[in-house]
Assembly symmetry: C2
């Protein structure tokens, strides 16, 4: 799967992923009121609003970027209807030729991680059938439980040609509380990065591994450090845009081949229509505002990374 991602980045010239993390606040009022008129101020109504909103964005950005990253929490908070919108979004993105990184941050003891791996990236056995479930192309994974929480994901990645991104250094302000703690002189996130490199050897693509890492744009020096520790791991970089990461912060995440990283922006793209900069589009043309924000982001990264 990492080879498909690399190819799609080359083709689009955009090491960019659009985070489909719809909050109801990001959705223009008419879309919400139409959905509520149809399905009520219910979980179903919220899910319908999200789906209609997402569809507009996906139609506007398909072809510009290689991948999207729906954050499952934003769907899960609306229960079963929300998760149905999550699945529908995944399937629609696939139809449109976009790769899908499920930002699920799952991770548990071995037998439980196996269930998550199967449910998100693999096929689950029911009687004699093996059925795809959520069927994302990549999933994000939490490493706190250690190797035996990761191994089932490696097994599924190998069988199904899928990939994972392991949380190494997250973009949030308090990520250092545990992740930066020094142990034998090394911060914890570097130990995790070393493990990412080790796990990655087992599921190599042609150049990069199907085991990547999440490292926040908000911590560029740390990005440089882990870039060296795991040269074959792709870095999924959240935190660009609304969280404070700038284009000029991004160079350390990339390798000399101009690859090795893919930068996510969520709010900065999908809620672009609410920004002063894109206000001329108006709420009705929210998807066009998102498209322009993607083009601007691609240009910003091109200038920074070259």
């Amino acid at each position: 799967m990492i080879d498909r991602l690399t190819e799609a980045i080359r083709k689009t010239g955009a090491p960019v992923v659009v985070g489909l993390d719809p909050m109801l606040d990001y959705i223009p009022a008419p879309i919400c009121s139409d959905a509520f008129a149809q399905a009520g101020q219910t979980l179903e109504g919220a899910a319908l609003a999200i789906w209609n909103f997402n569809k507009g964005i996906v139609d506007a950005i398909a072809g510009l970027v290689p991948a999207v990253k729906p954050q499952i929490a934003m769907y899960e908070q609306f229960g079963l209807p929300g998760l149905e919108a999550y699945k529908r979004t995944i399937d629609y993105c696939h139809e449109k030729g976009l790769l899908v990184i499920g930002d699920v941050k799952r991770g548990d003891i071995g037998s439980t991680s196996a269930a998550y791996a199967v449910g998100h990236l693999g096929r689950v056995r029911v009687g004699d059938s093996f059925l795809p479930v959520f069927d994302e192309d990549f999933a994000t994974v939490n490493p706190y439980l250690g190797t035996d929480g990761i191994r089932p994901f490696l097994d599924v990645c190998r069988q199904e040609h899928k990939g994972i991104f392991v949380l190494v250094k997250t973009s949030n302000p308090s990520s250092g509380e545990f992740q930066d703690r020094l142990t034998d002189g090394l911060p914890l996130y570097e130990l995790v990065a070393e493990k990412v490199a080790e796990w990655g050897e087992e599921v190599m693509g042609s150049v990069y591994s199907n085991v990547g890492a999440v490292v926040g744009a908000t911590y560029p020096e740390m990005g440089a450090a882990v870039r060296r520790l795991m040269p074959k791991a792709f870095i999924l970089v959240p935190g660009y845009g609304a969280q404070g990461g700038k284009g000029s912060d991004l160079a350390p995440f990339f390798n000399e081949d101009g690859l090795g990283a893919i930068v996510n922006s969520s709010r900065g793209i999908i809620a672009a229509w609410r920004q002063e900069k894109y206000s001329s589009f108006g709420a009705d043309a929210y998807a066009d505002a998102s498209r322009q924000a993607v083009l601007d982001m691609i240009e910003d990264i091109r200038q920074a990374v070259g």
Copy 2:
């Protein structure tokens, strides 16, 4: 919520939680074949088998224990139908007077953790409505992202009188890979335990906090250490039974008041009918075998903890 849990433990005399983690292999063949006959070898068929199986167990154990702990991964792997069975199980357990600990191990950056907190423990806003979603009583939470990934859960716990159990030292063999790393002479899990105590101060019940911790029965010495670090935190103890933890390992997790811990068993209870010890029940009476396994577990813990 921790006060309700404490009260329910006193009433049942059982600091025991039954893990509702149904794998299809645990389900007697006739239940599966009936479900497949009705809904096919599909996700719906699997979910129906799980639900019918769970219902039998819950009917057999209600009144004996204070709480159940469904592991969401075992439902999520069957997609939307599986998650519908998860929700149905939660609601049915509530009807039967059981508290529900959602073993979801969620955790993300602040705004995303807020969505998880709302979706699992709180109420989500849709227009002018505030709607309960999965509505577990407690949820397990992953601490890797630090305080700002935890804070939204604290806020929801305060508003909704709910609780969380933060992963401190998990029961799996490789949990030490990161959790045991020494930093300033202290293992990481002790630092997390100190944070659990700190976070817990904000959402105290009458004696114990609504912020508890997960510490595996497989690591009793570590249980003793963190017990001292967070005297007001309830410890949710997985790993008893099938994972190797014994009754005699459990004393260090409890306080002198005989409270402060609740021990989970999943496979050892719900798949009891497959054990030599309970084979006389037969597959048809799988729920009676589970009931007996619960009674035996309660007795084992009573002898060990006194």
